[in-house]
Amino acid sequence: MSEKKNLEQAISNIIKVIKEYNKHRKLFQDLFRKVKYQLDPSIFPEAFQFNTKDTSFIIRVPQSSTTGLKYAGVDGGIIHRSMNFFDVALIRAVGVLFYHNKDEKPKVKYFPEKNPFPDILTSVEPLAQNEIDYLIALWRIQKEIRCAIDLLENDSPDILILDGSVLPVIDVKSIQGNEFLFSQYLRLKALYRRLYTLSRKKRCLLCGVIKDSRSAILTRKLSLILPHLSKRPEFKELLDIDYRPIIKQLRDTDLLFNVLDINERTFESHLSKFNEYEKDLEDFDIHFFYLKTAEYDTPLRVEFPVLFSDSTNLAQTISSLICSISTFHPEYGLPSVIIEADARAKIREDDADILIDEISSRIGYSSFSLQKRRARNPWS
């Protein structure tokens, strides 16, 4: 009986926390929704460490047509197996390029091809589990960026969308002690630099879309301006509570889910600082905004390097193009090229099993004996 009571208690506590969080989230969502067009972020340059061109917190995105537009997307797929003596990963990336002529179905090109055979990468380095995870992530991103470069070298899209960040998002501190991993990181950075340069040369808008972003960069910045905002009548409620711990809990997408309407974006901001290892990319100015492309989907975080000095409003152009190829489904607002690239790049678990079986049969081991003990649990 007491066990049941404990379980009941635990569930009640979880529900209480969630309800509390939802209550706070709603409070902030309602407040920012009220002032979303009035709040001018350009008057808080210090808080945002950036002189944004946008004069309201939320901007409506103009409609644009896909007719005559050449747009591309890149995504990668990966399957990783940690065996007793080695790690093996199947990685592939696919670039897709759509070209629309009026309302006809898109003409499609694939890079390097429609169904490329995955790279089979193995490592016998004695790496810790977290290091293995970094290595696999590095390999995957390298593959995707190479694929994007390949696409740009062979064609000239108006916009190229990466699935994920336009920066090498790796916790460098964790890998700097490992020469092998760090060399992989340096290689990745070089690839990014090449991609930026090529995009600039080809006058291609480059951006990355991050779905389900867990970032809190915007809410953190907003927390800095809240003391100023609390003087506004709409924010009067904030004076009654200690809002600082609450806003610290909020992720950007949680706050923005109900603040943004479809075809709206947040003001253009920039990624505050490059870390010390990314200094050599600093000459590329990376900006971001959140964009709502589906009514019941969390906003996309869109990052883009400012590659063209003569461009008047890159954020508006990019957001408009992304909306034109993403706003078809009320619960799933991803760009069509990313959906297609994801489907093409996906690798099935079975494919990895076939590979492991083949390797084990050739070296004379059963695939079972190659697996780690936890994977060999006969009862799992």
Binding site: E104, I325, H329, E331, Y332
Partner: protein, 496 residues
């Protein structure tokens, strides 16, 4: 051979009975159809696996979720205009393994094909051999559906035993019979020719004689009104068959009388009529008067049919010749009993003559066979006993039956079950279908279900003539003169 796909794994296949494969050939170059024959080349085995496509499924990830399709298309654009949806379309086919074709012949498949094995469109030569077709000397009845292969059925396999042609009215039974007749009549001596007798219930085949085709000379049409039985060749048992209510005592007495007449007349080369029998009975001092009266009553009734005479016409021994067709036109007769008597007499005579090898091997075509071998009581089925006898024993004496019916459920089960080959055309009646399923050994549930979907001139051949049930598009007839009139035309002509 043209490669069309690759064997894939599903939860339960490949197994020795069936497998799935994905089409890898571009649909612009090739279109897979249900019931097509395919081949899997199994490298580790000694032959080629032949299979038949039983189902074709198209899949497309973009259209796999109804809610996603609805949600996207509610946006005002079609999914196909947003995504390259057509490039995600895959065709997966389910195939039934029929057997493995080896140098030693066809074997049952006892192990599955392997995932990843290549699938090819069956090559004509291989398929022909596998299905048991006889491209050199066979009877060409049509083309194998979906394949450019002539269906030529080996004469022995096809007609040494019996054949049933079953279909609803208007599905092409008579057309198919005409095609078959053309093939039988066009056979050369060195190919082996048989004689053919056709009972033409509706008089629709007599036109074959007037087609102007070369085979005219080999056809003879005799109207049933001229038919005469040689009374002396009819046994007491046959008389009893014509008059099923005859009692055992009467039959015994008739047997004695006919035996005496055989010794006194037939042995001396003298024939007799029914009147002669009646007179012989009347003069029999030993026979009870009541028996005499009853027997003469039965015989008088038979005499009234005017079918019984001194000599047989047509002379079946003379008219039954290799490569010849004798059409007995029953259309002038309205009495089913008389038609059954003609069929009964003729078949009995042919059987007797074949037993003595006095006539060549013969096939007897019986239109509306359910009228002549019905599953009803004997008094309504005078011809059934001899039909059943030939159905059971005819194979040994090379006399075969070709039974044609639009109501198989009314046909004698014994007779139909002896028809080792069946040509089944469109049938809609569920009772008929069920009956065919029960009486036909070579037909599986899938094939049975497809019978209702057959078009005019399309047929399934199942049984002894082929190694596996096949779908055939019956070939075009050479003789064109068998005109079928439509209601509108007949009404107009009448009103002129």
């Amino acid at each position: 051979m043209k490669m069309i796909g690759t064997v894939i794994v599903t939860q339960t296949t490949p197994n020795p009975s069936e497998f799935h494969f994905v089409i890898t050939k571009d649909s612009k170059d090739f279109q897979l159809k249900r019931d097509m024959y395919i081949v899997v080349d199994t490298p580790e085995e000694e032959g080629k696996v032949i299979a038949q496509v039983k189902d074709i499924i198209k899949t497309n990830r973009y259209f796999s979720s109804p809610s996603a399709v609805k949600a996207y298309e509610t946006s005002g654009k079609t999914l196909a205009s947003i995504f390259p949806a057509d490039s995600w379309e895959y065709i997966i086919a389910k195939a039934k393994a029929l057997g493995i074709h080896t140098k030693q012949g066809v074997k049952r498949l006892q192990y599955p094909v392997s995932p990843g094995d290549n699938v090819f469109l069956a090559d004509s030569n291989l398929l022909s051999k596998f299905l048991g077709l006889d491209q050199d000397n066979g009877l060409y009845i049509g083309k194998l559906e979906h394949h450019d292969i002539k269906v030529k059925l080996n004469l022995t396999r096809f007609l040494q035993k019996h054949l049933a042609i079953l279909a609803i009215s208007g599905a092409g039974k008579s057309y198919t019979v005409s095609v078959l007749l053309e093939e039988l009549l066009n056979r050369k001596k060195e190919q082996g020719r048989i004689a053919t007798i056709l009972f033409d219930v509706h008089g629709e085949y007599k036109g074959l004689k007037e087609t102007g085709a070369k085979i005219n000379e080999q056809i003879e049409v005799i109207s049933a009104s001229y038919i005469q039985f040689a009374t002396h060749s009819i046994s007491a048992a046959q008389f009893a068959n014509f008059q099923p209510d005859i009692s055992p005592v009467q039959l015994r007495e008739l047997y004695v009388v006919l035996g005496r007449m055989y010794n006194e007349k037939v042995k001396k080369g003298v024939s007799y009529t029914i009147s002669d029998i009646m007179e012989e009975i009347e003069n029999d001092e030993r026979m009870n008067q009541r028996t005499k009266d009853a027997l003469n009553g039965w015989l008088f009734e038979l005499e009234k049919t005017k079918l019984f005479g001194v000599k047989e016409f047509p002379n079946l021994k003379e008219k039954t010749k290799p490569g010849k067709l004798l059409i007995i036109d029953l259309s002038d007769f309205t009495s089913l009993r008389q038609k059954q008597m003609i069929v009964s007499y003729t078949l009995s005579r042919l059987f007797e003559l074949r037993k003595k090898s006095e006539i060549p091997p013969v096939s007897v075509i019986l239109e509306e066979a359910h009228q002549f071998a019905p599953e009803s009581k004997l008094s309504l089925a005078i011809s059934r006993p001899i039909i059943n006898t030939i159905a059971r024993e005819g194979r040994k004496f090379f006399i075969s039956l070709i039974l044609i019916s639009q109501r198989p459920v009314n046909l004698s089960t014994t007779t139909l079950s002896q028809c080792n080959t069946q040509i089944i055309m469109k049938i809609m009646n569920p009772y008929d279908l069920e009956f065919i399923g029960r009486t036909s050994e070579g037909i599986d549930r899938d094939t049975l279900n497809s019978i209702t979907t057959l078009g005019v001139g399309e047929a399934i051949v199942v049984g002894n003539a082929v190694n596996h049930p096949i779908y055939v598009k019956i070939r075009e007839r050479i003789t064109k003169n068998l005109e079928t009139k439509n209601l509108e035309q007949v009404a107009k002509n009448f009103d002129l």
